[in-house]
Amino acid sequence: MEKTSEISDRLKEHLKDNIVEMKNPRESRIFLRVKKEAFRETLEYVVGNLGFKHLSTITGVDLGTEIELLYHMVLNDAIVLTLGFSVPKEKPTTRTITDLVPSAVLYEREVHEMLGVDFEGHPNLIPLVLPEGWPQDVYPLRKDRQFEELRKIALEK
Amino acid sequence: MAKEAFEQLFRKPATTKYPLQKASVPAGFRGRPVWDMKKCIGCSLCQNNCPSGAIELVGKGMECEIKYFLDRCVFCSQCVEVCPRAAIVMSTEFELAGFDRSKMLYWYKRSGEVL
């Protein structure tokens, strides 16, 4: 089995200055943030060459002016690579990864409805868990949405 | 399977006749929390730590009274854990369901009476 450090070395070597941030807080955890343009290529490398076949989930984080997308990829059920990049909040669009990892379909839908990120090329980008009739432009997990406001919307509906 | 099923005929039913026959709970069961107002010093730790907002302090310090909302309580016993004076204990009371939420307020007064 490959070591966590080996993988991070290989990633460093391959990506060079496309890396925004790379952390290795403990064994079997890698946090890697790349530039938006380099994400697709990185993912192809990670899935194709490093063998990270399992996508655990996609997390979207509202950073204020940007939305960060974190893809938690798992190798051999042991090493978690959290691959992230940011999209601007005004125009949060990125390409879908469903062609590379088919099971991302649900996770992308979830991020889309919760944070309003558009995944170009996604086969069916409709809300996953929010109720029918939920307003189009209300994304609950964005920081500017308050809890009380969301409850009001849910009650009015 | 047939043998297994046949054997059951000569066994006592595993279910109990619950409302007629009281269910027992083990020691350490987390039932409805009960306050001892003689011990309470009004530190408000229980209120601040309660995950479901079931505890409300009325007044301050030694004069405070405790409002406990049974309908919000999740019986986690975090309040028991944080209480510095051990003024809260979890009772073994568990048949707490009801139809009226307004009856589920327990108001612990300083005088020791409970509304």
Partner: protein, 318 residues
């Protein structure tokens, strides 16, 4: 019609007695089923929950009767009555209180088979008329199921008739008592076939395919509520009585007079074990799929039933 005849039809062993018996047998079935599963079963209504089926019936009668907008109103109203009346009619053909049934004629066995077919047709119409996806699937399954168990059932019922040389149920029962030999000992294969087919007729596990709860909600009964459902439930209980009574008459010697014991006691003593057998069988299997059920019936049960007939024709089991 004399007063006695009227009393016979309406009270004993007619309508009223049969209703009480139907509730009682449902209770026996439920209680036994529960005990096999290590549960208490009905408990609160009456001693040991004896009145629970009746309480359920009263409760259902008092409930709102919801009629779906899309249903066929006439059929939707009529089928519960048919479903309740058909097994009741059939029960008059079976000897209960005396050695001969209330209505007995040569050929009533054929009439009985006809009623069994009618019951399933009623079920089919009930499901079809409610215009619900689950009901229609259940109705089609019921019809398909009937096609597979009707033949072996008829073959199994013909066995005792051949042995007794009569097509009257009462005559078959009397032939067994006069020969002091039950169909069960003479034709065990036929008895087994009949039990299996009756399980299918009663829609008991493993043949509860038309109303498979976890697949199609309540199958053909999905849309029925209130008093219609109450009638269906009562009809089901009648069917239970009918199945056990028929098995008793054809294979267990029927309601015999043994010494001073009146036929009615013998009838009860014989039908209750049959109910328990049904109850036990339905507790130890998983539900089959409709294709598995159909192919199983045609591949195995029909040849077995024919084998029994051949044995009788060869003189074994007469």
């Amino acid at each position: 019609m004399s007063a006695i005849e009227a009393a016979e039809i309406l009270v004993f062993p007619g309508l009223l007695f049969l209703i009480v018996l139907a509730f009682f047998y449902e209770w026996v079935d439920r209680k036994f089923f529960a005990r096999v599963q290590n549960r208490c079963g009905p408990l609160f209504a009456g001693p040991a929950g004896l009145f629970q089926p009746f309480a359920d019936f009263v409760k259902l009668i008092s409930k709102e009767d919801i009629v779906p907008a899309a249903c066929d109103k006439i059929l939707f109203d009529a089928t519960p009555i048919f479903y309740f009346a058909l097994p009741l009619t059939a029960l008059f053909l079976v000897p209960i209180a005396t050695q001969s049934a209330l209505i007995a004629f040569d050929g009533d066995l054929i009439f009985m088979m006809f009623i069994f077919a009618l019951i399933v047709i009623t079920v089919f119409l009930a499901g079809w008329s409610s215009m619900n996806r689950f009901s229609i699937i259940g109705a089609v399954r019921a019809a398909l199921q009937m096609l597979s168990y009707e033949i072996p059932l008829a073959l199994a019922m013909i066995g005792p008739a051949l042995a007794a040389g009569s097509l009257s149920i009462s005559a078959i029962a009397q032939w067994q008592s006069s020969h002091a030999s039950w169909g069960l000992w003479l034709q065990p294969i036929g008895f087994g076939t009949a039990i299996i087919c009756m399980l299918a007729e009663l829609e008991f596990v493993p043949f509860d395919i038309p109303e498979a709860e976890t697949e199609i909600v309540a199958g053909w009964r999905t849309e029925f509520s209130g008093r219609k459902l109450a009638l269906f439930k009562l009809g089901r209980d009648f069917e239970l009585v009918l199945a056990s009574a028929l098995i008793t008459s054809l294979f267990l010697g029927g309601a015999q007079q043994v010494g001073i014991i009146p036929p009615i006691i013998m009838f009860l003593l014989k039908t209750i074990p049959v109910i328990l057998l049904f109850s036990f069988l339905r507790s130890i299997f998983a539900r089959l799929r409709i294709d598995q059920m159909t192919s199983g019936m045609w591949k195995y049960l029909v040849p077995i039933a024919i084998l029994q007939l051949l044995l009788i024709l060869l003189g074994i089991g007469k």
